[in-house]
Symmetry: C2
Subunit: 184 residues, 2 copies
């Protein structure tokens, strides 16, 4: 914003970072752009960024050091808790594409963490499950992650945590009011 008719640019503070940018965005959108629904922007920007901050932290402090990607963790986690599962179900539960699951599975199988077994009833299907090694790995990883999750969540009181879950739940489950795009 250099030469325009617009009002004097809101100051861009030096301390600005990934998180505090939200505030700047909010201010500029309302004062200069005349955003119609700025609260909505704020809600979703905040949601997205909070998720990124936490995810990046967990991935880089827990999973990468063990040579696992965030996706690999998710696939193992899902298989651990819901398995054995069809590949297609795993895709749905992890939020990945079927192709991604297929590729990832290859890696995990060759690493001895997962097993791929043909479904007896349906010749097209494949049942995914964890090997013994995979099971003990994910158990340990989860334990470690859970400690860090606890450190994160503890910033909020327990009632606050419950309210947060409730609100996010409401945000997502009431989405039937319009047609949401999902994978597949």
């Amino acid at each position: 914003m250099t030469d325009d008719v617009a009002p004097v640019p809101v100051e861009v503070p030096e301390s600005l970072d990934f998180w505090s940018f939200i505030e700047l965005a909010n201010r500029r959108l309302s004062t200069e752009y005349g955003s119609t629904h700025e609260l909505a922007t704020q809600v979703l920007l905040t949601l997205n960024r909070a998720s990124n901050v936490v995810t990046y932290d967990l991935e880089s402090s827990i999973h990468r050091p063990r040579g696992l990607s965030w996706s690999a963790f998710r696939l193992m986690f899902v298989t651990w808790l819901a398995g054995p599962v069809e590949s297609k179900t795993a895709a749905k539960l992890t939020g990945m594409s079927r192709a991604a699951v297929s590729n990832l599975t290859k890696t995990l199988v060759s690493g001895g963490l997962m097993e791929r077994a043909p479904d007896e009833r349906d010749g097209r299907s494949v049942q995914l499950s964890l090997t013994e090694k995979g099971r003990s790995e994910i158990g340990e990883i989860y334990r470690e992650q859970n400690e860090r999750e606890h450190a994160w969540a503890s910033v909020l009181t327990e009632p606050e945590q419950r309210i947060l879950v409730m609100l996010l739940d409401k945000l997502i489950t009431n989405r039937s009011q319009f047609d949401v795009r999902g994978r597949n």
Copy 2:
């Protein structure tokens, strides 16, 4: 209740999907695994998945049809509101690596949406800004996205939206209590 050798499902409902998996995970972790901090897991799982659902929806309904990636949108958005910015600052504000900004910039410049200008004071730096075309594009895209953001957020009442923002804000800004991993 169940055997610890073979993890026989508590009951894995057929209706299970990306979102309702959270509930299953929560149940199994508490009944079978004896999770120490299951509320923490629930909070972060919910946060992560809510963000994914919304992000995927916005990306696939707004940005992909225009040939823009989610990252490209973020970079343009940041440059629009905070620009002109150094490449390094853009990385910080978008949450991408410096390499990613560098690569993306190349694409956006060749598409006539961004400009790259050498910094006069510092020979190493590059100032990023939007072209006229870029500015009008992002304005239009934002307007469109904002409509959809509004549809999403409207599921919550205004006070609920404000509480949600407050809680997420608290979750992130009080993180100084332990050392969080961030990019760079």
